[in-house]
């Protein structure tokens, strides 16, 4: 540390140091090890573990939650609330030293609780949900693997460890999206998610390489200490690459297209991975790297723009979809847009984004599990045009889903109000005209969210029945599925208030997140913004209620330009196809042609030449000693002649 202090240039964030983990906190590694071990056992034992495997999976996550809570409480007693645990030297090649180390600080702590807490409830739910699936043990193995990788991602103390976890969750996500790989749509969705994530992952990887090239390290403390000494351009490039990685994982513009397709996986997967935890990894990355993002205002502007654009895209498309899980998926895209908006604003808004992330984890998991419960009762129907009137048949699902719905649209006093509204306020607190731009976008997004979520809620649980003929009496799901719903619903109600009052102070100890700036004067007063957002929310929800209270047609209706565009994902897929897929296919074909004609021709020609030469030379090996002796003699004469030529100076 002395060495770093001596070389550290003056920078705004100050030197970052962590205490060494000891005592009880020395066992932080168990958080990753327990789910990983469980996954290994489930995969290695194979069918032998079929009968009890799912309970092992649930128990592993439960144990991780209890441990996480213990460590969390332990952390509260420490002075700087951050401990580092270096396990072993992971990579030592030349100048590159990568530590296999963990960092447990307030930011990691809240993520651990979210991942293991919500994860435990969803595991519990999945025991029942997957009960009739032959691959349940394999499902829990992948699920445990995901939790282990996600915990590694948030607990690593350097970017290589983060990348390790990052790829691990990517792998688990891929395996789980295409879990029902006999369905072509699931296999394709898995591939799509994998490919689009690769684009982002490549960005993150190059970002890490740049870190090593310019700073010579990937440890968080050393990177954050050294970032002040970098040029503005380097920081911008580094930040943009990290942002690309974050956008890929979190389904942000322009890499948002894979996330809705990922709903092909089992519903618990959608709830845990593609709503509550993994897709928020991008937000985590930016929040963790806040000293880098805070060091360049252009960078922050890009992050804010990505967030604002994505949140509107998500709302607009979500309003036009009819598949219950896809609507929820686009709402996830949109809500993560809010989080990106928050982390892009910088300063105190980092903490707001994290609060929204945690609150969102509860209410979105709640709604996804609710959607799963509805599908469970409706023979896997996902089209909201074929629901209606379910409030009488699924009381618990209805009430819990209502909590989630009120939370996401930001109704007082549900959790979304306490987590989303401060972000809108923060967006209005910018210095110039962009305050109107981003504030307006956030406000508009709130109204649209209220509209499409109300549409979803009303069409599913109220209005006339529009069921398909084969359903006579929808049933409520068994207790193992409704208990997690109830617990998550309680979280949707209360979490927002609790989190928004405690988490910002708690996060202050995390490197950089505590660096509070003087807030600028907002262009509108706080009270006006609050009133406006509530008004717009009520207006959006009211409009949806008015339009859909009497149900809707059961088949797609002709629509105007905007709705058609929204149904087609605002043509983003078409753009991807035109800009990347078509030229990519053309390039591939051209290369294949070149390879076949040019490279293969050359190589095959060479190979034929060698083969032909070999065949001819072989004939010299006649098997007769006399011809061998002759060739030795000829060789001898040549060697002697060569030596004599050297002696005579002919070869000089």
């Amino acid at each position: 540390m002395v060495h770093i202090l001596a070389n550290a240039p003056a920078e705004p964030t100050g030197t970052v140091t962590y205490a060494t983990a000891d005592g009880l906190l020395g066992g932080v590694w168990l958080l990753v090890a327990i789910p990983l071990l469980s996954a290994a056992v489930l995969l290695l034992l194979g069918r032998r573990a079929d009968r009890w495997g799912h309970w092992l999976g649930v128990a592993a996550i439960g144990a991780a939650f209890v441990l996480g809570l213990t460590y969390f409480l332990q952390l509260r007693g420490l002075e700087n609330k951050s401990v580092e645990l270096s396990l072993w030297d992971f990579i030592t090649v030349g100048d590159l030293r990568v530590d296999f180390g963990l960092l447990f600080d307030p930011l990691a702590g809240v993520f651990v609780l979210l991942i293991t807490g919500v994860g435990f409830l969803i595991h519990l739910y999945a025991v029942e949900y997957m009960a009739h699936d032959a691959g349940r043990r394999r499902f829990f193995a992948y699920f445990n693997l995901f939790v282990a990788a996600m915990l590694l991602l948030v607990l690593g103390n350097n970017y290589v460890m983060l990348y390790f976890g990052w790829e691990g969750v990517g792998l688990a996500s891929y395996l789980l999206i295409s879990f029902w790989s006999d369905r072509p749509s699931a296999a394709t969705a898995g591939k799509k998610a994998f490919l689009m994530n690769r684009v982002g992952d490549a960005g993150l990887a190059i970002g890490i390489f740049i870190m090593f090239a310019t700073l010579g390290t990937t440890q968080y403390d050393e990177v954050f200490t050294g970032v002040g000494g970098l040029t503005a351009t380097t920081v911008l490039v580094l930040g943009l690459l990290l942002l690309l990685g974050a956008a890929g994982k979190s389904g942000q513009f322009p890499l948002q297209a894979w996330l809705p397709d990922a709903m092909e996986g089992p519903t618990p997967v959608s709830a845990l991975i593609h709503a509550a935890t993994m897709v928020t990894a991008g937000v985590y990355l930016i929040a963790r790297s806040n000293p880098i993002f805070s060091a360049n205002t252009t960078l922050q502007l890009v992050v804010v723009s990505v967030g604002a654009l994505t949140l509107l895209i998500g709302c607009v498309i979500g309003a036009a979809k009819d598949d219950i899980k896809r609507v929820l998926a686009w709402s996830t895209v949109s809500q993560i847009g809010y989080m990106f908006l928050g982390v892009g604003l910088g300063g105190a808004a980092y903490a707001l984004a994290i609060v929204h992330l945690l609150a969102h984890g509860f209410f979105k998991a709640n709604m996804f599990l609710g959607a799963g419960s509805v599908m469970h009762g409706m023979k896997d129907q996902v089209d909201i045009r074929r629901f209606g009137g379910l409030s009488k048949y699924m009381k618990i699902t209805w009430i819990t889903f209502m909590m989630g719905w009120l939370a996401i649209i930001g109704m007082f006093p549900f959790s979304g109000f306490f987590s989303k509204e401060p972000i809108i306020v923060a967006a209005f607190e910018r210095e110039d005209w962009t305050a109107w731009l981003f504030g307006g976008a956030a406000l508009l997004g709130a109204g649209l969210t209220a509209f499409y979520m109300t549409r979803l809620f009303v069409l599913t649980f109220h209005g006339p029945k529009r069921w398909t003929e084969d359903i006579e009496h929808p049933h409520e799901s068994p207790a193992l599925m409704t208990i997690p719903l109830v617990l998550l619903a309680i979280g949707s109600v209360g979490a927002g208030f609790l989190l928004s009052t405690s988490v910002p102070d708690w996060l202050e100890a995390t490197a950089g997140l505590g660096a509070q700036e003087e807030p600028h004067e907002a262009v509108l007063s706080h009270a006006v913004i609050t009133a406006l957002s509530l008004l717009i929310t009520v207006a959006g929800a009211g409009l949806a209620w008015f339009l859909f209270r009497a149900g809707t047609a059961t088949a797609p209706q002709p629509a105007g330009i905007l709705v058609t565009a929204a149904r087609r994902n605002l043509y983003t897929d078409a753009v991807n196809e035109a800009i990347f897929e078509k030229p990519g296919i053309f390039l591939t074909r051209a290369l294949v042609y070149l390879d076949n004609r040019g490279v293969d021709g050359l190589v095959n020609g060479l190979a034929a030449g060698v083969g032909g030469g070999s065949g001819r030379l072989r004939r010299l090996q006649t098997g007769f000693v006399r011809s061998y002796a002759t060739s030795i003699l000829a060789g001898a004469l040549l060697v002697v002649a060569a030596f004599l030529a050297v002696e005579a100076g002919w070869l000089a």
Binding site: S614, V625, A629, I632, G635, A636, L638, V640, F643, E647
Partner: protein, 517 residues
């Protein structure tokens, strides 16, 4: 009349050689006095014990740096390292030679004098145990090799050459199966070997003439005298260059370098497979040990004159070995051409003008020896009712029938091809690196290009084993007895370990890369 001055003899430093030769003589007595049914066990134990004892003395004397017995023998780093290498590889070869479970009664004929293919010959091939004279013969050969790498004058070197060559000629003729092929191989090897020895001897004579008149020294063929003569002999340099050319021909013949390689495929194919392995591993070590000493000690002063000529020989060797390996259809011939190409790579190390070249060559010799013995061990196992199935078409689909041995053989082939994490990769690095540093980039370029060509025949065998459907005629792999298993495992593990942690052996060779003069 002057009293005869007896040269001082350091028996401790000579102990390994003396043990091997003594054990060989004892082996001859065993043949005469021990009952036939005990001979196999006694002879094998005697040979292995002798190798172990000799190895112990090599290790104990690892710090010896001296010239003894009147300047005839130099005991120094390279000598001790190469003697150790020969002894370890010879122990593996003895394990293969002594196996009697794979081929009932051993790989050797019971009575070599019986006319081949006669009724009596068929009877003895079926029923009788192989001759046990192979053990004293092998022991003599090992003893000769130990002298060959330690010889400090050209005459001692010639004697040693004959001491280890003659038993090898005989061993080649003793195959139990396909005896005509075996006898033909031995005959060819003997005739051509004698022919090459003549070149060597003629070279020695010319060098002797060249050293006459060197200021302050009597004429002689010890390396110190030759070294001094290269610097300041008044004699015509034609003598030196002619002698150097003829001398190197004799040595390059043993090393199987082109165009003196012609015997190699026929002999490797005809000889009993364990003997082929022994020749491929140990003879290689001995021949290159002698080449290192001759060119780094005796002719050091003429380095810039011999390097271009021998460089061309090296390139030609790699090229011929690699190109001809492509169209081989017999696994033993394929390995023979691979061994020729490897001789080319080893010459690159010999020609590197620095001590890293010496250490790299020594590393290569050991690594290659382990791999090639393991390869021939697998060849002994792939067999049908008529003995070994060496034609490549018979190996099709072997991976399905015997995945373990096919996997082992694949690993060894990948090592030959120089794939990283095998010893083959490390040894190529060890010889090419010093050659680059020494300004011999053209040799390295030729080496890399021919390695690419050579990868093709290796991978062809791999593809054949794994991707072809097994045919009716695909033989099964015999489960080997303890001796062959031990040799095979030592070879495979050494190939892996030297590829993953080559450090200790590289340190050893670096520490041993200094000749005494």
């Amino acid at each position: 009349m002057n009293e005869l001055q007896l040269p001082s003899i350091d028996y401790g430093a000579l102990a390994p050689t003396l043990i091997m030769l003594g054990a060989a003589l004892l082996g001859v007595l065993v043949e005469a006095f021990v009952p036939r049914r005990h001979r196999h066990l006694v002879q094998l134990s005697l040979a292995l014990l002798a190798v172990l004892a000799a190895l112990t003395f090599v290790v104990l004397g690892a710090d010896d740096r001296l010239i003894t017995i009147g300047g005839a023998i130099a005991v120094d780093g390279p000598t001790l390292f190469l003697q150790g290498a020969i002894l370890v590889l010879a122990a593996m070869a003895l394990l293969l030679i002594g196996d009697r479970t794979v081929e009932r009664g051993g790989y050797f004929v019971a009575q070599a004098a019986v006319t081949a293919e006669s009724a009596e010959d068929r009877r003895q091939a079926e029923a009788q145990n192989g001759t046990t004279e192979v053990y004293p013969l092998t022991t003599f050969a090992i003893g000769g090799m130990l002298i060959f790498v330690a010889a400090n004058d050209l005459l001692t070197m010639f004697i040693a050459l004959e001491v280890f060559s003659l038993p090898l000629y005989l061993l080649c003729a003793l195959a139990r199966r396909r005896r005509l092929l075996s006898q033909e191989a031995a005959m060819k090897y003997f005739l051509l070997g004698a022919y090459a020895s003549a070149f060597f001897l003629f070279g020695v004579a010319l060098i002797y003439g060249f050293t006459a008149g060197t200021p302050g020294r009597p004429a002689g063929v010890d390396f110190a005298t030759v070294n001094a003569a290269v610097a300041e002999s008044p004699a015509s340099p034609v003598l030196l260059f002619g002698g150097m050319a003829l001398l190197s021909i004799g040595l390059l013949f043993k090393a199987a370098a082109a165009p003196f390689h012609v015997w190699t495929p026929d002999v490797y194919q005809g000889a009993p497979t364990p003997v082929t392995g022994f020749m491929a591993a140990c003879t290689k070590v001995a021949a290159f040990g002698a080449l290192l000493r001759v060119f780094h000690v005796a002719f050091d002063g003429a380095r810039w004159d011999f390097t271009p000529v021998l460089g061309v020989v090296a390139v030609l060797t790699m090229l011929i070995g690699a190109v001809l390996a492509v169209t081989q259809t017999d696994i033993k011939r394929l390995l023979a051409y691979s061994s020729i190409a490897n001789a080319g790579y080893l010459l690159v190390g010999v020609l590197a003008p620095n001590s890293e070249g010496i250490s790299g060559t020594m590393f290569y010799l050991v690594a290659y020896g382990f791999s090639v013995l393991a390869a021939f061990a697998v060849v002994t196992l792939v067999r049908d009712a008529d003995g070994e199935a060496t034609h490549l078409s018979r190996w099709a689909g072997l991976g399905r029938r015997s995945p373990f041995y096919a996997g082992v053989f694949t690993f060894i082939l990948l090592a030959f091809a120089g794939i990283p994490l095998t010893s083959g990769f490390m040894s190529k690095v060890a010889v090419f690196g010093p050659a680059l540093d020494g300004g011999q980039a053209w040799l390295v370029i030729a080496g890399v290009l021919t390695s690419m060509v050579l990868a093709f025949p290796y991978l062809r065998v791999v593809v054949l084993m794994w991707l072809s459907e097994p045919g009716e005629s695909t033989p099964t792999v015999t489960v080997p007895g303890g001796l062959t298993s031990a040799a095979l495992m030592i070879g495979v593990i050494a190939t892996l370990v030297l590829g993953v942690v080559p450090g200790p052996l590289l340190d050893l060779t670096t520490g041993a890369a200094e000749f005494v003069r």
